[in-house]
Amino acid sequence: MLQKNDVAPDFTLYATPDQKIKLSEFKGHNVILAFYPADWSPVCSDQMALYNEMLKYFKKYDAEVMGISVDSKWCHMAFAQSRKLHFPLLADFEAKGEVAKKYGVYDEEEGECKRALFVIDKEGVIAWSYMSPTAVNPGADGIIEALENLKSK
């Protein structure tokens, strides 16, 4: 798993069926990358739904949050519509798990991303990373602390 001070590997992934996102286009902003195993986990404890409620707090730190899983862009679209998500979900779908592997957070056995968080600074360098047990939604306190530390740097 990539750690603090590693350069965040660039990638280009589908965010919607006809739109791709390139990480390096976000230079100048902080980025929160949230790798997660799969769309459609139970509602009230869903990690993406939780971050959806926190967008205005992330904005305060000039941070863009993006979810990443191996689900397809069509699955992401249905999931995002169903949960009214207002941030991008990226499809690490072809080649499957390629980006997760670069970040060292791919679960070969399940064929899914592990549940891992990265906060990337405005220069594209990893400021904080955290691996959560797959079954545990890590919440946002670690993210906020990392963003707070970047602000005071």
């Binding site: 509602v43 009230c44 707090y57 009214k84 939604n137 946002a140 306190d141 906020i144």
Partner: protein
């Protein structure tokens, strides 16, 4: 993970305010899991209320539950007339009927001053209070609702697990 900020007199407190055991819930009035936890908490407080300081903080998941925040504001507005827990209980007990109308009906049944209740519900200071609760939950590692804290430490389990552990001790 520990609670930030700590429980203070600004919080809504039930049971024994001097008790050594503090149980805090971050909850959402429209969350079905919180609705299911409510009677369990009520029963726990009926039995052990003299030994527990119970605290409720708002954690409305507004995108998911459109009535969560209006309900939180209604409870806070009722609190300004000394009826927080009455409103809190009535909302959870009628969760399946939750609507703007229900909140007004409950307020009337609680004999609240309705014009004050309505204007307080829109008041920015109450919005800030609810947002402040949410923010404190975010900083404390709340990852869904309900999330409980026991003496300031996050408890990994639901209301039933909590009651079971209390029973064992």
């Amino acid at each position: 993970m520990s609670l930030k900020p700590k429980v203070s007199t600004a919080d809504h407190i039930l049971g024994n305010g001097q008790a050594d055991l503090t149980i805090l819930e971050y909850g959402d009035y429209q969350c079905p899991h919180c609705g299911a936890a409510h009677p369990i908490i009520k029963e726990m407080m009926a039995e052990l209320g003299s030994q527990i300081r119970f605290v409720f903080r708002n954690f409305p998941l507004s995108e998911m539950h459109p009535y969560a925040k209006p309900a939180a504001l209604a409870a806070e507005a009722a609190a300004l007339q000394g009826k927080f827990w009455e409103m809190h209980d009535a909302i959870f007990e009628n969760q399946n009927l939750l609507s703007e109308r229900l909140l007004l009906d409950i307020a009337e049944q609680l004999d609240l001053d309705m014009s004050k209740f309505k204007s307080d519900s829109q008041d920015e200071a109450l919005q800030d209070r609810v947002d402040g609760d949410f923010e404190s939950g975010m900083l404390s590692g709340v990852n869904g609702t309900p999330t409980f804290f026991v003496n300031g430490q996050k408890f990994d389990g639901g209301a039933e697990d909590l009651v079971q552990i209390l029973g064992e001790n």
